[in-house]
């Protein structure tokens, strides 16, 4: 409702200003077409020429938010909210932007304001639920999504959010009911199909689970979690080849999926494969790396311009033998707004390209510069292993374990 009010006002206000009017129309059209970055560029000049127009700031903020630049989105949304304090749209977007930046308190305050200004709508409550999930506040998330469903019982976003939150709290029957209700409203919603598949696979793993997994795949769901839950269900049911195939699919989508790595190793081990036992034995060393990726990934996504962070992520993926992801992060590190330091980039790129003669000394120099860093040790161990120096790799791995223990002080 608030956003519509903005649209009307922006078009009215544009009448006497022909040039900015054209830019505004272009910007809105681009935004509607999903070309957020171009939309933001078009709207920049309009916002500069109409500093007291809350609608223009609002659209600029949204364009930036959709383009992944939450920081600059906030800068545009703040004046929009200040210029029109009784409109719920600006605080709603502001809450999303602050949440994306990890400014959770600020996000919470903005979303509370959006709820107060627009009490009958599900959307601000859905955002509150998502914020609670980002803060790992599962009980709070369930409560907010349930309020959203109460406000608008046929809102697919609210039902999807509720289903996902209930799944995470392991209220599987509740999650099933919410996802099925959501699919009555939006039968092709991929998020709901994915959620129902995960729920049913965990709930019983029987024929209904298989059907829902197939339905999700047919709808184009490519989520690692969906493959993982289906694989884990097959493993629980003793269908080992099926489990292996599905867990491999999960790892293709997300090589840092710890559950899938572990379950795949277990499935292979139960099939009598030596690869499985080796995978389980290796998992202890991989686990801190997986945890580190999980811990740092959201921040890396927020700070895409930080090349050093991307290079570090590339190193972690290397240690998991996830060459594709490592290459992706290494390329991003090289071209980032703030490129990674040459030393780490050199090591990572040489390793990605399989140039062990260069990679090993590059990692050694890195370790020498920061001898207490466990993950640099892990990188060196990995490069030594691949470079055909297993004894030295073993020593570095043992040092990696020791450093991990010392890190807790």
């Amino acid at each position: 409702m608030g956003a519509l009010r903005f649209l009307a006002r922006a078009l009215l206000a544009s009448a006497p200003l022909a040039q900015s009017d054209a830019s505004l129309e272009t910007g809105l059209a681009l935004l509607k077409a999903g070309r957020a970055l171009e939309a933001a560029e078009a709207l920049e000049s309009v916002a500069a020429s109409r500093p007291s127009d809350p609608a223009v700031h609002y659209y600029l903020g949204n364009a930036r938010l959709r383009a992944g630049d939450a920081e600059r989105a906030l800068a545009a949304l703040e004046p929009s909210g200040a210029l029109e304090p009784d409109n719920a749209a600006a605080p709603l977007s502001l809450g999303q932007a602050a949440g994306a930046l990890g400014e959770f308190d600020r996000a919470g305050a903005a979303l509370d304001r959006a709820v107060r200004l627009d009490p009958g709508r599900a959307r601000p409550l859905v955002e509150k639920g998502r914020l609670a999930l980002a803060r790992d506040q599962l009980g709070e998330a369930v409560r907010e999504f349930a309020r959203a469903v109460e406000a608008q019982p046929a809102d697919p976003d609210a039902l999807r959010g509720l289903a996902e939150a209930l799944f995470l709290t392991r209220d599987l029957e509740g999650a099933r009911a919410a996802s099925e209700r959501g699919l009555e409203v939006a039968p092709l919603d991929r998020g709901l199909l994915a959620c129902r598949s995960r729920v049913l696979c965990r709930l019983d793993g029987g024929e209904a689970a298989e059907q829902s997994y197939r339905a999700a795949l047919e709808a184009g769901v490519e989520d690692a979690e969906v493959h993982f839950e289906a694989g884990a269900a097959a493993l629980r049911n003793g269908a080992l080849p099926t489990a292996v195939a599905r867990l491999r699919l999960a790892l293709e989508r997300d090589p840092a999926h710890g559950g899938a790595r572990f379950a795949l190793a277990r499935a292979l081990a139960r099939s009598g494969s030596e690869e499985g036992r080796e995978g389980l034995a290796r998992f202890r060393d991989e686990k801190p790396i997986l945890d580190e990726i999980r811990r740092t990934s959201p921040r890396t996504a927020r700070e895409a311009a930080d090349g050093e962070r991307r290079a570090f992520l590339a190193l972690l993926y290397l240690c998991l033998d996830a060459g594709g992801k490592a290459r992706e992060e290494s390329d991003a590190a090289a071209s980032a707004q703030r490129p990674a330091p040459a030393q780490i980039l050199e090591a990572v790129r040489a390793a990605v390209e399989g140039r062990w003669a260069q990679a090993v000394p590059a990692f050694e120099r890195l370790v020498a510069s920061e001898p207490g860093h466990p993950f640099l040790r892990a990188g060196l161990a990995w490069a030594l292993e691949r470079g055909g120096r297993p004894e030295e790799a073993r020593r570095q791995r043992s040092e990696y374990r020791r450093l991990l223990g010392e890190g807790i002080r």
Partner: protein, 552 residues
Amino acid sequence: MISALLLASQGGAAPTPRFVEVTAEAGVSVVLTCGRPEKPYIVDSIGTGVALLDADADGDLDLFFPNGWRAGGYPAGREPLPAFYRNEGALRFTERTREAGLARPGWWQGCAVGDADGDGRPDLFVTAFGPHAFFRGDGDGRFADRTAAAGLGDPRWGSSAAFADVDRDGDLDLYVATYVRYRPASLLDPDGADWCDFQGVKAYCGPQNFPGEEDLLYRNEGDGTFREVGEARGLHQGADSKSLGVVPCDLDSDEDPDLYVANDTARNFLFLNRGDGVFEEDGVVRGAGYDAEGNARAGMGVDAGDFDGDGDLDLFVTNLDQESSSLFRNLGVAEFDEASVTLGLEGPSFPIVGWGTRFFDPDGDGDLDLLSANGHIYPQADGVVGRSYAQPLHLYRNEGRRFVESAASFGADLGRARVARGTGIGDLDEDGDADLVVTVMDGVPSVLRNDGGDAPGWIRLLLRGRRSNREGTCARIELRAGGRPQVAEARASGSFLSSSDPRPLFGLGGAPRVDSILVRWPSGCVDALGPLQRNNTYRVVEGTERAVEVPR
């Protein structure tokens, strides 16, 4: 496996007994304490355990409660003390702490009971945040402090402990689980705090912030002294060692005690005994180190039991909320599958923080149910949506293919919310069913009497080892009644900070008699017994092939 599960469910028609809170009538009134009520330090949140032991050799179980302390201490004369209660029969206890020689203040936590010197009288080991203590029992309800003489006063922060003859030399060795490396109590500011963030609320900083502490294994030298041999026996595991629970049991069915250790925020340890008291840790590869998704959980309490009737011992570990408790099903020779999802335990245990736990048979139907005593780590949980400090006990009833949380069907007292910690299980009133004792953080413990669990019939064994350790600890009992096989090990340890009734008690599920019993002693000796009449206690002396009825 499926046939075993189906068989295990045949006794499901047994009437549901009730657990009735009888604490006040029983005369148990000690107020247990552990740190300040707002729990500003990690040590404040652990709580205390309980021991059920026959300290005065009159045939029934007395109670011992370690008690805690707080930063800055207490004014003279107001120090909390441990409590020893003598069982006078008919579930009446009298407090005899001073007479027992146990009125020693300290930041006590857990306890283990075993006949360490083989004199037929149970001895008592008490863990502490500070030096541990060892009390030799003289069999008439009194104990003598033998900590220094025995060499058992290590100052590392101890949690649970367990006696077992790990090197099979005929006496009981001692495993002490230690938690994290933390500053000593004397350096804790009475007005200070280690605050961290918990869901936007300040709460004490958890174990992730502290390095682990290597656990201790004491070899019984047979002369009243013990020698710490943990590193030499393969038990040192570095930073992952943040242990809160331990259970010694034969997990690979090779007739020696293995050790399973629950760690908080780190992988659990599965120490397989090579047969000579030297261990190899293989938890991750054998499926009992992490949960099914490869995550370390916050392991607290632990127990072992053959819930599925397939003849090997499975493992249960209580964890933090939003993790669920873990049931590791033994697939044979110590290969495990974390089966909490399949067995219906994931959802019910997701919202609770579990501590004391035990496989036991409260309804006497012949299969093992599961108890989990619960309570959040943070008092501040009351300020967070969907969480609470006090939580109900859970009793997961074994329904063959699944466990179903059924505390409410065992009476309102069981499901009442408490901030529970240690849990001991044993037949306090000698009526043939298992009663409960649950310690409560900063409160009076709960004594819960089982009314009706004996109805389907029962049998109890009093073991006496000759070549094996005197109490027959870790002896394996294979019983058959009404066509149903049951397997158990004689063991007081397990759970959390606590020691339970060491006498194996079996529910018979309505079977008119016990058809046969095999007792496999730690020495390798096997006694074949039976048939035996139900509703009796029998004494079995190693190597005699006889079960002698013990008069009531």
